[in-house]
Each structure stands twice: as structure tokens, then as C-alpha cells.
């Protein structure tokens, strides 16, 4: 084995070098993901394969907090508006289609870093639903429940009445599919994705704010993109 004892310990240097590179990459993470996001944003319009969505930090990622992706057929779907309202509502997808419609195009930003540019949403303003149900005066907050049975979210009444908070049923011109939280989900455009409750089943007007699912794990209640959760993303 004498010849093997000779030579330079390159293996150790390669390992240590890669550890250094890994450490630098962790430290430069926010910068790298912003750069990759720009690259993917430039590539994706010219990419019929959709492979650019696999670039780290870009493209939709589907998260669920339960074991599967819940599904409710659009024909059987009902959305309830309850709590401190004058008249409780139970709405079908057709009821939502018949209400005044709003379109909104915004980037969608996840708190874990990925961002999807220029997503086209269409639906009904949450404020319109609150008005139709007759949300009572002096109520502080709105709680959202997902029909996955676990997920909840909430907004203050002032946030809920913003123009860019919608109950949406259309994504990029198509009915919202199962993975994206269809047939109907919430869209809180100026906040991180976890506020936009998927598989929306009920909207409840409450006299005080009840923190949602991820807020219980330390995420910010007021999840403004770029001004919360210690992140510095461009606002959406």
C-alpha cells in the first residue's frame, strides 16, 4: 500500500471546500434566491416545457397541512358567511359567479421564498360578501376556515375590507384546480401566501381576532409582503 500513502490529501480539501461553499451559500441565500427568481422570471415565458418552474425558489409549490389534497366538486361546493352578521349566507359557485366580479394581477409570494410573477386572479371582493351578509358594526375581525378540516386564517376587519382581498374562483383564466385550493379560495394579495386560505369553506365575522394556523407556529398575523416575518421581498 506504499504508493497509496503518497500523494496529496486532496479529498479532505475538496470536502472542506464544499463545506465552505455550502456555508457561504446559506449566508448568501436571500441574494441567490432573488437572482434565481429573476432568471426564472425571464425564462418562464419562453419555456413551453415548464421545467423552469423547477429552478429553486420559483414556480408554484403546493403545500397542505393535512395528508391529502381536499376536493369538493364545484357543483356541490358551498361557502358560508356566518358569525356576527345580520343574515347568514350559503353561497354556491353560481352565486359567486353572479356577483360583481373583480380581476387582479399580482405576484404571488410565499414566506418560504418562492414567488410566481403576474398571477391573474378573478373573483368577488371579500368586502362585497361582508356587506351582503350584513356584517354587524363594531366587529374586529374575520376568520376563514378551510374544508381540509385543519387550516384557518384571519384578518382584521380593516384588512378584510381592502380592495385587493378577494374570494377567487379563477386563476390565469381557468377555474381554480384542486392543488391551488379550488374551487374557491381566498386571495390576500398584499400578504404572504399563507394568508390566502385554500379550499375556503367558511367566512366568520368575529368581535375579536383569532390567530390562524401558521400564526400558532410563530408566523406574523400582519403578513405584509416585505414588511413581516423578517423578510425583505418586493411588495406584491
Amino acid at each position: 500500500m506504499s504508493s497509496e500513502a503518497q500523494g496529496t490529501p486532496i479529498g479532505r480539501r475538496v470536502v472542506l471546500g464544499l463545506l465552505g461553499l455550502g456555508g457561504a451559500s446559506v449566508a448568501a441565500g436571500p441574494w441567490i434566491s432573488r437572482w434565481l427568481g429573476d432568471v426564472a422570471g425571464a425564462l418562464s415565458p419562453h419555456d413551453p416545457t415548464g421545467l423552469s418552474a423547477l429552478i429553486p425558489g420559483t414556480g408554484w409549490r403546493y403545500y397542505t397541512v393535512t395528508s391529502g389534497f381536499p376536493y369538493e366538486a364545484p357543483a356541490k361546493y358551498h361557502l358560508t358567511v356566518t358569525g356576527n352578521v345580520d343574515h347568514e349566507l350559503t353561497l354556491t359557485t353560481a352565486d359567486l359567479q353572479a356577483m360583481p366580479r373583480t380581476k387582479l394581477t399580482r405576484d404571488f409570494q410565499c414566506v418560504t421564498g418562492w414567488r410566481v410573477p403576474n398571477v391573474h386572479w378573478e373573483g368577488v371582493r371579500l368586502a362585497a360578501l361582508l356587506d351582503r351578509a350584513g356584517a354587524q358594526a363594531g366587529q374586529q375581525a374575520v376568520t376563514f376556515t378551510s374544508y381540509d378540516g385543519t387550516y384557518t386564517e384571519s384578518l382584521t376587519m380593516a384588512q378584510a375590507r381592502r380592495d385587493d382581498v378577494l374570494v377567487v374562483d379563477t386563476l390565469d383564466g381557468r377555474p381554480i384546480g384542486r392543488a391551488h385550493g379550488g374551487p374557491v379560495r381566498l386571495l390576500v394579495a398584499p400578504m404572504y401566501g399563507y394568508k390566502s386560505c385554500k379550499w375556503l369553506s367558511s367566512i366568520e365575522v368575529t368581535d375579536r381576532l383569532v390567530p390562524g394556523y401558521w400564526e400558532g407556529f410563530g408566523y406574523d398575523q400582519n403578513a405584509w409582503v416585505g414588511r413581516s416575518n423578517g423578510r425583505t421581498d418586493a411588495p406584491t
Partner: protein, 203 residues
């Protein structure tokens, strides 16, 4: 004419380390893909179970190697050989006719040595960033660190997958090497062609 006796190349312990690590890497690659690729995530579903499997396999990943380092003298000796690049190894890497030039290559060639070190380094980075990502949200880990760990874990995975593809491709091209990791023995003529210095020492 009698077929020459095969040469002992890998001990039982080394083969066990290789087999168990490859199973763990397979589980990690599949569960990782099911967490990362949207269409596959939809197909597989059960995200919490997939996530838990990925975490357990990741935590177990270094165990076979660590046990091998403690209990297998042959693994320790091979790692020492893999660590050191000789002049022959660099020549082997540089020359286009490396497979026919009859360079006095030892138990491992230069490509095997550099690949081992790269996989080990990248594996440690994946393990470390994986541990950072394991810390639940309630632990006060700065979001920038979580983001850095995420992107680093993703990027190093892509790099390691390229190496893994090359590893499998070369194993496919070298059935004698596959047999050595299955039986511990390598065909003598193959060893004399690919690793002549090592074969000479074991004559």
C-alpha cells in the same frame, strides 16, 4: 485454461455500508422529489408522511458510514487511499486514453477519488442544511438563514443528482465493478486493466 482467481476488493462491512447507504439515498431522492416537484407532490399527496420519511432517512444517512468507520478497518484503509491524489491519478484524469494507457493506477483512480470527496462534501452540506430546515418555525432561526438553507439544500441536491447519475451510469458500464460490490470479489483481468498497481500488490 483455468479462469484466474478473482481478487478480494470490498469487505463484507464495506458492502453493507454501500448497500444501506444506497437504499437511504434512494428513499431520500424519491421523497425529496415528491416534496419538490409539484406534479409528483400532487400524485403522491400525504405530505406530512413523505416529509417524516425524508427526515428519518436523512438523519439515518450518516449512520452506516459512521458504523463502518468504527468497525471496518478495510473501510478506513480505503478512505485513506481515496483521500490522496497521486501524480498517476492526475495523469489518469488528464489523458483521453486513460483506460488503455496502462497507468499504474492503485485501488481507486483519480475520478473515483475526486467523486468520493465531492459526494462526501455535498452530502455533509445537505445534512447540515437539512438539520437547519428541521428546526420548527417556533425556534428563533432567522428567516434569512432558513431561506439560505432552503436554497442551498435545493442547489446541492441538483449537483449531487448529477454525480449520482454519473455514478449509476459508470456502474452500468462496468459490470465487474458492480459484481465487486455485490460479492466482494473482482475479476482479475479487469483489476489488472483498470487498477494495475493494486492488482500487482495483491498477486
Amino acid at each position: 485454461m483455468r479462469r484466474p482467481e478473482p481478487l478480494p476488493r470490498f469487505s463484507r462491512g464495506e458492502r453493507l455500508v454501500h448497500r444501506s447507504t444506497s437504499v437511504l439515498v434512494g428513499v431520500l431522492a424519491f421523497t425529496g422529489a415528491a416534496l419538490y416537484i409539484p406534479s409528483l407532490a400532487l400524485l403522491v399527496g400525504r405530505r406530512p408522511a413523505v416529509e417524516a420519511t425524508h427526515i428519518v432517512a436523512g438523519l439515518l444517512l450518516p449512520v452506516p458510514t459512521l458504523l463502518g468507520l468504527v468497525f471496518s478497518a478495510s473501510l478506513r484503509a480505503d478512505l485513506q487511499a481515496l483521500n490522496r491524489m497521486t501524480g498517476t491519478d492526475w495523469r489518469w484524469l488528464r489523458r483521453r486514453d486513460r483506460r488503455t494507457a496502462r497507468l499504474p493506477v492503485g485501488k481507486f483512480n483519480g475520478g473515483q477519488k475526486l467523486a468520493t470527496a465531492t459526494v462526501a462534501g455535498a452530502g455533509l452540506v445537505l445534512f447540515g442544511t437539512g438539520i437547519l430546515l428541521l428546526a420548527p418555525a417556533r425556534v428563533a432561526l432567522p428567516v434569512s438563514v432558513r431561506q439560505g438553507a432552503t436554497i442551498t439544500h435545493d442547489l446541492f441536491t441538483f449537483g449531487l443528482l448529477v454525480l449520482l447519475a454519473g455514478h449509476i451510469w459508470l456502474a452500468y458500464r462496468h459490470p465487474e465493478a458492480r459484481a465487486a460490490l455485490r460479492t466482494g470479489l473482482v475479476d482479475r483481468a479487469y483489476a489488472e486493466r483498470e487498477h494495475p498497481a493494486w492488482a500487482r500488490q495483491n498477486r
